[in-house]
């Protein structure tokens, strides 16, 4: 095997969603930033090629939502993935996706249907119905779902480009609490599995990639950090480390509580030959 010098560039590792190749396995959300400048700085520092945006009513004056289309258009290498947040059911999500496609020209859609404002957990039945319809209509569909391997396979069967199980509830910073289910999803699915929601630390992003996830989607952990652009950079490194580790092949896990020596246990000074 050829030697790998320190600081050598990482091996080529294309990441495709549908027929689109992306430069990074980190996908960013655009909510909760202190302002547009902080958001743009974090997106650039992250190296991402895909960000999600929400569709909201136009308004002017105090409290109006920032119109992000103009600012994001200044980043030519970043694609938009509109999400359907706010939709209470499949019908509303499909309509939001179609409206967003008109505006963005992007085929990506994050199907996100979480009618309960307390826990924001995705409604699997409405999500399935919307995802199936949008995939048939030519969208690259990435549904935000509970970490359910059976649902994931059903979504693959109806033509989704990826599935996005939650790590923990949206914005909670709970971490990758669903790791055992995510591991099964990776094993069972042929489409990319992308952990979306709940991650707090870059180490959790690394863990997701080590488990075989294709990517992670991060918003709050970056937007709510003291220094969002630095945290974006940290997540980019976490994702790279996890992916590299996955490809390098993690060693088999031993039984808990049993050591396996790395140094020889015999022939130490003063021992018997």
């Amino acid at each position: 095997m050829a030697a790998i010098p320190a600081n050598a560039p990482l091996p080529a590792d294309p990441f495709r969603l549908g027929d689109v190749e992306l430069p990074s396995r980190l996908i960013l959300g655009t909510g909760k930033f202190s302002g547009v400048e902080a958001m743009l700085a974090a997106i650039q520092a992250s190296g991402t090629g895909l960000v999600t945006v929400a569709l909201r009513r136009f308004s002017r004056g105090p409290g109006a939502a920032d119109d992000l289309l103009g600012p994001l258009a200044t980043l030519p290498n970043v694609r938009l993935m509109p999400n359907t947040s706010g939709a209470m059911n499949a019908r509303e999500a499909v309509r939001a996706a179609q409206l967003a496609r008109e505006l963005s020209g992007s085929r990506f859609v994050k199907v996100e249907i979480h009618p309960n404002p307390h826990h924001l957990l995705p409604d699997p039945l409405e999500t399935y119905a919307a995802a199936a319809e949008l995939a048939k209509d030519g969208f690259l569909v990435l549904p935000y779902i509970p970490a359910d391997p059976v649902l994931a396979r059903r979504l693959e069967d109806v033509g989704c480009a990826a599935v996005m199980p939650l790590g923990a509830p949206i914005g909670s910073g709970g971490g990758l609490t669903t790791r055992d289910m995510v591991r099964i999803m990776v094993r069972e699915c042929s489409i990319p599995v992308i952990v979306d929601a709940g991650l707090r630390a870059p180490s959790e992003a690394a863990l997701a990639l080590e488990l075989g996830c294709a990517a992670v989607l991060v918003n709050s952990a970056i937007a709510a950090a003291d220094e969002p652009a630095r945290m974006a950079q940290a997540f980019a490194l976490g994702v790279q480390a996890g992916r590299l580790a996955r490809r390098a092949g993690l060693m088999p896990q031993g039984a808990v509580g049993h050591a396996v020596a790395t140094s020889p246990l015999t022939s130490f000074l003063g021992g018997t030959a």
């Binding site: 959300g29 655009t30 945006v53 992000l68 103009g70 179609q98 914005g171």
Partner: protein, 67 residues
């Protein structure tokens, strides 16, 4: 003058009965909004062709931050 419902609220529209005039009145950039008229998505060319009528429900949508 036309009484419309724009983004769920009553709106007195004074200009031409076109989407372009309505957007100008609202101060919205036509290139940065999606439009729905009476529940129907208005695609590019339709947007120019349509004439607004009293009682129409118009939704004007933009991209905002979200995760």
């Amino acid at each position: 003058m036309l009484t419309l419902t724009v983004n769920g609220a009553p709106h007195e529209h004074r200009g031409d009965a076109t989407i372009a005039a309505l957007l100008a009145e609202l101060g919205a950039d036509p290139g940065r909004v999606a439009i729905m008229l009476n529940g129907r998505i208005l695609r590019g060319a339709d947007r120019d062709a349509v004439r607004l009528a009293a009682g129409d429900e118009v939704e004007v949508l933009v991209f905002a931050g979200g995760g």
